[in-house]
Amino acid sequence: MAMVTDAPKESFRLSMLIYDSRYRAVTIQVIVLLLVGLFFAWLLNNTAQNLAARGKEFNFGFLWARAGYDINQQLIPYTNDSTHFRALLVGLLNTLVVAILGCILATFLGVVIGVLRLSKNWLVGRLMTVYVEVFRNVPLLLWILLSYVIFSETMPEPKAFRLTDDMIAAGEEPAASKILFGTVAITNRGTSIPAPLFDRSLGSVDLGFVSINLTALATILVLIGSIWANRRLLASARATQEATGIRPVVWWKSLLILFGPFIALMIALGLHFELPELKGFNFQGGIQVAHSFTALLIALVLYTAAFIAEIVRAGILAISRGQSEAAFALGLRPGRTMNLIILPQALRVIIPPLISQYLNLTKNTSLGIAVSYLDLRGTLGGITLNQTGRELECMLLMMLIYLTISLIISALMNLYNQTVQLKAR
């Protein structure tokens, strides 16, 4: 009878950390962790020593000092008496407005181009191929500069719009005139568009550092309400269709629900438009949109749309042919096949790479510096940094803000991705 004995207990030796496979993995990880820690400690130490050597200190107090400079595009009230922090907010909003508008427009354009690139029409397909290849293979910076130069070099100067008494006497017309029934003026400096004004404005609520415009808030609420009501209407129409087989006629109700409340609100508030007028050197009144904004937005949209088009095309091609053939066999027209069968399935493939494109677009807004667009890079990372000499603080803060924006976009898009993902049942 064999005796079963316990294996002899091996005592732990230091060499086992390297030669024993049970410990080796841990040993390596601990060493790497230590090295990484050392690297960062060295980085911090070096920074601190260099700051000390230059007699600089690290603090963010400068954010509350008077900024002293002016910004040409401000979405919130700002004067040169405001603080650097306020300038940061103005810049941040300028970044966000380009990023958000850019993402929306680039998505629309990208989807259209991606779908058209697969068109059976030879000419349309090839044209879209040319578009995609041209835009995604030339650096974005060049597109931004190009679109800016086109605006600033080809459009007339504001004084070309002037009509003097002498010209009236001589029966001459100004060299340039406003377009769209005299409402929009495009000069070599910017675009002046009519501004909506309200006779009976609801005013605004001041919440310390931001004030909320109640008129805008009411408009947004009414619009959201209308869209929600419209969805309810369509859902009930679908329920009727599925129960009885007959779809009730709802298009006029839909139009009424979508636009009725909005128009009523606008009339109640006394909406009218203030037209831009040439006064002195520039157009006054209305809303002045600088070309730096327009050029940056156009370039970002055209450039990113080319990438999104490729993502959309890849997504569509990923859906097996059987799906569209089955749809055609059921008698669905190509447009409906695309909208009802292909795109909803393709979204699963499209969304993840689309997130990266949104992140790229957002970060690329910082190239606006090339056309003097005062976004976050232009205010905090440009003028504030320069006038205060706080390179380290400004750069760190700017990186942190861009990181936060990107993570928020990423999180939102991941949430949306979860709703379109294939549900495993």
Binding site: A53, Y69, K279, G280, G382
Partner: protein, 338 residues
């Protein structure tokens, strides 16, 4: 700045990082070359000429420093800096000295940890407009679009000026003079504002210089001068006294042409000390005794530099004005060389 970093790991992790600053003067001597932060291109003050040689009023001061330290005015490397990058370039040790139309202000002197060692050009901020705009005073610029170089004092003065006069403007921020010129000429702005000397220099290079006027208002004081890092007083002294040597040379009538002759024949004790014939002024700040003679021989005296680059008769055509010697009613005044 020379930096040595020791990385040591002793018993787990102990680390020492040490940054040691050697004197800039020793660095320049060891390198055999002066690295001078200059403008990206401002005619008359600092710009490469057709054959790539840097020329200009500020450039000549760099050459004078190089001649004083190294004995040769051509041993200079010019690093073009914009309004945004200039101070960082100096602080980080990328350049030894910055001679680039930089205004001496309190916060730059203190917060940015820089030292302005002298004023080589007394300037003020002005406005340039096209003649056909029909404007004769800066106060008529209500509602105008103004091109402004970012990272400058002029950016802040502009905001103050318009606020004080209760008029409005739209700023168009640009990175440097050439971009400002392009925008201004394309009509993207009604007025271009910067130091009056810069405006004159800018106008000189425009194809239709006569169609542009510089408005009479000077809205600020802009003392422009060479800048060094704070904390290296010896190097600051070298730059400061090289500049003063050029001023004293003008005062005493020492020119590029007669410097050797003056050194041999002058009986003026200050001239003799300046040119290293008597005394040991040079070695006292770590230079040769002939250092200042070399500087004057390389570029001439202050008046000569002014006349050759930006003075009356050149395309820029600036009068001496505030920059005349104190003996002629100006502000340029050197302390006694003794």
């Amino acid at each position: 700045m020379k930096k040595s970093v020791f990385l040591g790991t002793v018993a787990g992790a102990t680390m020492l990082a040490g940054a040691a600053m050697a004197g800039t003067l020793d660095d320049v001597k060891a390198r055999g070359e002066l690295i001078c932060g200059s403008n990206t291109g401002l005619t008359g003050f600092g710009t490469p000429d057709a054959s790539g040689n840097w020329v200009g009023f500020d450039v000549d001061l760099c050459r004078a420093i190089a001649a004083a330290v190294l004995g040769d005015g051509s041993k200079v490397k010019f690093v073009p800096t914009t309004g945004e990058t200039r101070f960082t370039a100096l602080q980080s040790g990328e350049v030894d000295v910055l001679v680039r139309n930089s205004t001496w202000t309190f916060s730059r002197d203190t917060e940015l940890a820089l030292d302005f060692v002298a004023v080589n050009y007394y300037d003020g901020q002005g406005f340039m407009v096209k003649k056909d705009l029909g404007v004769s005073s800066a106060k008529e610029l209500d509602g105008a679009t103004v091109c402004i170089q970012t990272g400058t004092t002029t950016e802040l003065n502009l905001a103050d000026f318009f606020k004080q006069n209760n008029i409005s403007y739209t700023p168009v921020t640009v990175a440097d003079d050439s971009e400002a010129q392009r925008q201004y000429l394309a009509g993207a702005c009604d007025a271009y504002t910067t130091d009056a000397s810069g405006l004159a220099a800018s106008r000189a290079t425009m194809p239709d210089a006569d169609n542009h006027i510089i408005l009479p208002e000077i809205i600020s004081k802009e003392p422009l001068g060479p800048v060094v890092r704070h904390g290296d007083s010896n190097w600051g002294d070298v730059v400061r006294w090289t500049y003063y040597a050029l001023l004293i040379a003008e005062e005493k009538g020492i020119t590029k042409a007669n410097v050797e002759e003056m050194a041999g024949s002058s009986t003026d004790e200050e001239v003799k000390r300046l040119l290293g014939v008597s005394g040991d002024m040079g070695p006292k700040i770590g230079l040769d005794n002939a250092a200042f003679k070399n500087a004057i021989a390389a570029v001439g005296n202050y008046g000569e530099i002014f006349a050759a680059n930006i003075g009356e008769g050149t395309t820029i055509n600036l009068a001496r004005g505030l920059n005349a010697l104190w003996t002629q009613g100006g502000l340029q005044y050197a302390p006694p060389f003794r």
